[in-house]
């Protein structure tokens, strides 16, 4: 009798057309979502998942306990042999599938990020940070950087060398300040270049650089000596350069398989041809790199949460309480359904953020903030669902929670990202109608406030002057007062 009440049974009472319109098949949402993708992306999604399950899942817990357990360059090469790691150029240089990026430049990247991080957040980060490292070579629109330098890095990878890259903007005295327009104006920078014959000499420190220890290549941002972020320039450095050293490795809460290291530069000579984009274009490049990378961070958060959900669901199916599987209890069902609902919302947000013609500030930040916060909630719920088992390392969910927590911090804290959403939509949803011009009073004062962030005379003879004003306009300061 009851079979006729459940959807599967009830469907049988329909005619053929009715049955066709009534989907009652029990399939994972993952499969349903995959069906909505184009054929190349479907194939890619399966390949990412297969790779992650074989190479990441089994090593994640051990790498969390001992970050040296996994040889990251070796893992990177294994991924590269699958074509994962060289997707910014089409064949024969790289492995970009034009058909896969047709509907959105970032869609393959977010699919990959979700799959890798569902298997393991730390190892996933180690592989994905490489793409952040090389992103400036693409995003700068500098053809030399793209064809010559990116081409060379890909050649090295194809030749079996672990030519990983890292992205370095954060400094000890400037974290949020190098991710936020308001902060950038007064950033206390500590990594500077000086022009010398044939190139530049860079000194200073960068901190928390993911893959800082294992990367061969580093896209590093430095300001002209004594100047502010408006002189920021992106340089492509390699570890063989004299005076370039790796400092301390941070001991962090999660995503421990990927190192976060300090980079120390002592009068490092960088030839002219290592400038990515124009001199002084670093701020624009870094802001746009974040536009491209934040949806990927959203996808990483989604992946980590999915991993936690899968562990929790398995636990609830396998564990019996008072002689019933946990998943038989209604409160457990409600909680699992809540988690799945959140995963779906996260995926929808991330995928949507990749469907725009180009990534833009609000889209990336929305995906990042929403998914990071939701991922944290999902992982916390997974932990509590497992009760005492939840805090045991081998159950994996506590690790997922630790991993998820980081996504609320890097690529700009979620607070700074919220401000970026506001900033990106000022003149649209928020504030005045003017999206930034040279003539109206508020924009003019904004532009004048942008130059010479440190306020000191940098001695450049005005070279750093209004060269590249901080681009993003905002009409109110953080205290809500108009400027």
């Amino acid at each position: 009798m009851s079979d006729g009440i459940r959807p599967v049974g009830a469907r049988e009472r329909l005619g053929p057309l009715g049955r066709l319109l009534f989907d009652t098949e029990a399939r994972p949402i993952w499969d349903h979502d995959t069906d909505t993708l184009s054929r190349p992306l479907r194939r890619l999604r399966h390949r990412y998942r297969d790779f992650a399950e074989v190479h990441l899942s089994c090593q994640g817990l051990a790498a969390d306990r001992d970050p040296d357990f996994v040889d990251i360059p070796e893992l990177f090469l294994r991924a590269a042999r699958e074509g994962f790691g060289t997707e910014l150029m089409p064949p024969p240089w790289g492995t970009l599938q034009i058909t896969a990026v047709w509907r959105g430049l970032l869609l393959p990247s977010v699919l990959k990020a979700e799959e890798l991080c569902a298997a393991d957040g730390g190892l996933g980060l180690a592989l994905l940070a490489h793409e952040l490292g090389i992103a400036p070579l693409f995003v700068s629109g500098d053809l030399k950087a793209y064809f010559y330098w990116l081409g060379r890095i890909y050649r090295e990878i194809r030749a079996g060398e672990p030519a990983m890259a890292a992205f370095a903007i954060t400094e000890p005295g400037a974290g949020s300040d190098v991710e936020d327009t308001e902060g950038a104006r007064s950033a206390r920078l500590g990594c500077f270049y000086e022009r010398v014959a044939g190139g530049f000499r860079i000194s200073g420190r960068k901190v928390f650089i993911t893959n800082g220890a294992v990367a061969r290549w580093v896209t590093l941002f430095a300001a002209q000596k004594g100047c502010g972020v408006e002189t920021w320039t992106c340089f492509l450095l390699d570890k063989s350069m004299a005076g370039f050293e790796v400092g301390r490795h941070e001991r962090k809460m999660g995503q421990r398989a990927a190192d976060a290291s300090e980079l120390i530069l002592d009068e490092v000579f960088v030839p002219d041809d290592r400038v990515v984009g124009e001199v002084g274009a670093g701020w624009a490049i870094s802001r746009n790199v974040l536009n491209f990378s934040r949806p990927v961070v959203g996808a990483m958060a989604l992946g980590i949460a999915r991993g936690a959900f899968e562990h929790a669901a398995r636990f609830c199916n396998e564990t019996r309480l008072a002689n019933r599987p946990l998943s038989d209890y209604q409160d457990v069902q409600l909680t699992l359904a809540d988690m799945l609902m959140k995963l779906s919302a996260m995926r929808a947000t991330v995928w949507q953020s990749t469907r725009y013609r180009l990534p833009f500030g609000a889209a990336g930040a929305i995906a990042k903030v929403f998914c990071a916060d939701t991922s944290w909630e999902v992982c916390r719920t997974a932990m509590t669902l497992l009760g005492d088992h939840g805090y045991v390392h081998s159950a994996s969910v506590e690790k997922a929670a630790r991993d998820a927590r980081l996504t609320q911090i890097y690529e700009g804290t979620n607070q700074i990202n919220r401000l970026a959403i506001f900033e990106s939509q000022t003149g649209a949803e928020f504030g005045s109608d003017c999206a930034g011009c040279a003539s109206c009073a508020s924009c003019a004062s904004d532009a004048s406030g942008a130059s010479g962030a440190s306020g000191a005379d940098c001695g450049s003879g005005g070279e750093c002057g209004p060269a590249s004003p901080v681009q993003y306009k905002i009409k109110t300061d953080r205290r809500g007062q108009s400027e």
Binding site: A174, E182, G183, V207, K252, M253, I409, Q415, G480
Partner: protein, 391 residues
């Protein structure tokens, strides 16, 4: 105990925590210098902070879960635990769990010792109640449910998972289903038929010990069967203290996190100002502060001296409000304080995520507290039943 005495105890605990516990936590290692932990616990016992079942022990009366907690209520123990947890929730957990064990032995002849054969051993005692596969319920606390360890002619049979203790625990008070409902037995870790497996590699509260116990016909001599009549020795009374203590740990831990976040916010310069001047940071701090304030108000109410008797209600018709309040306190304090800790960590940005700033340790402890003992869903279900008439 009047307010003045309570404040004095709080102050003593605070000073002890600053002097002894804070240096142990330090900045090195994931969870501090756990090698120095046993020494700190010995000094806590000497200072009368840690309870003792031995009438000559300094903490016998007024230590955490000392004898006075039976007559005068939970307030003093809860206050001391909260202060200890401001410096380290793990150390506070050891004091809590050891105190719970000690209280089970108060008034028993073998209070100061337990025997393995004829050999006398001391050390902390842990309490084993939650049988494997048992979901805590009101009725189960009153009448042993099917998952409880069984005490029959053949000795103890069954299993208890996640038994909390202090390091060096070698004795267990086991709640078991006997002929007359819940009974208690004292067994040594080395007892024949008892297998203990320590739960290593945990997220937080690393200082405490957690073990799974498997009882396979563990003999219990009549002298090791503890008196079961008193209202303070029931599962309800134990669970009530367990819940209140964990809630106190959550509150203390969050207070410490908030203190560190405030300190950091005064010093860190970003966005052209000390970060404490940014509304984004103020929102985090304000949210944390109000959550901690709400949690601690609720905790004090749940553990208030004099207002509620220190019995969970161990018979039909008895007022179960105290136990209900303890469930609600564990649920709400852990949730609110967990949120307060994560917001405090966020104030430190990337530095909050690094081990040496200790905010990440606090977050690990907070999350462990939330998940452990009775997890939130079960607490909600317990709170849905309203035996105490709280409307």
């Amino acid at each position: 105990m009047d307010t003045e005495q309570l404040n004095a105890m709080r102050e003593t605990a605070r000073r002890f925590a600053r002097r002894e516990v804070a240096p142990l936590v330090g900045t090195e290692g994931r969870d501090g210098d756990l090698g120095g932990l046993e020494g700190v616990l010995v000094r806590a016992a000497e200072a009368g902070i840690l309870a003792s079942a031995d009438p000559d022990g300094a903490g016998f009366e007024y230590g955490v879960w000392g004898r006075a907690s039976v007559q005068e209520g939970a307030a003093a123990s809860v206050a001391v635990l909260e202060e200890l947890a401001v410096e380290c929730a793990g150390v506070a957990a050891c004091v809590h769990f050891a105190g719970l064990g000690a209280l089970e032995l108060v008034g028993e002849e073998m209070a100061g010792e337990a025997l393995v054969g004829e050999e006398s051993i001391g050390g902390p005692v842990a309490v084993a109640l939650f049988g494997r596969g048992w979901r805590v319920s009101w009725s189960g606390l009153q009448t042993p449910p099917p998952g409880a360890v069984h005490l029959g002619a053949g000795g103890l049979m069954g299993a208890c998972d996640f038994v909390y203790g202090a390091p060096g625990t070698r004795r267990y008070v086991v709640f078991a289903a006997g002929d007359h409902g819940w009974e208690r037995a004292l067994v040594a870790a080395e007892a024949e038929g008892l297998t203990t497996a320590s739960v290593e590699s945990r997220m937080g509260l690393a200082a405490a010990s957690v073990a799974h116990l498997q009882f396979d016909a563990v003999g219990v001599s009549p002298s090791r069967r503890l008196a079961s009549a008193s209202a303070s020795a029931t599962p309800q009374a134990h669970v009530r203290r367990l819940m209140l203590g964990l809630a106190a740990l959550a509150v203390g831990n969050a207070r410490g996190a908030l203190r560190e976040a405030r300190r950091y916010a005064e010093e860190r310069f970003q966005g052209g100002a000390q970060i404490e001047d940014h509304p984004a940071v103020q929102l985090l701090l304000g949210d944390s502060a109000s959550r901690v304030a709400a949690a601690s108000a609720w905790l004090r109410e749940a553990a208030a001296p004099g207002v509620v008797p220190d019995a969970g209600g161990d018979g039909d018709g008895e007022d179960q409000t105290p136990l209900w309040r303890a469930f609600a306190a564990k649920l709400r304090c852990c949730a609110e304080c967990g949120r307060a800790v994560t917001d405090s960590l966020q104030v430190l940005g990337g530095y909050g995520y690094m081990e040496e700033y200790r905010l990440e340790k606090r977050l690990r402890d907070a999350m462990t507290l939330e998940a452990m003992a009775i997890e939130p869903n079960t607490l909600r279900l317990l709170c849905a039943t309203n035996p105490g008439g709280v409307s």
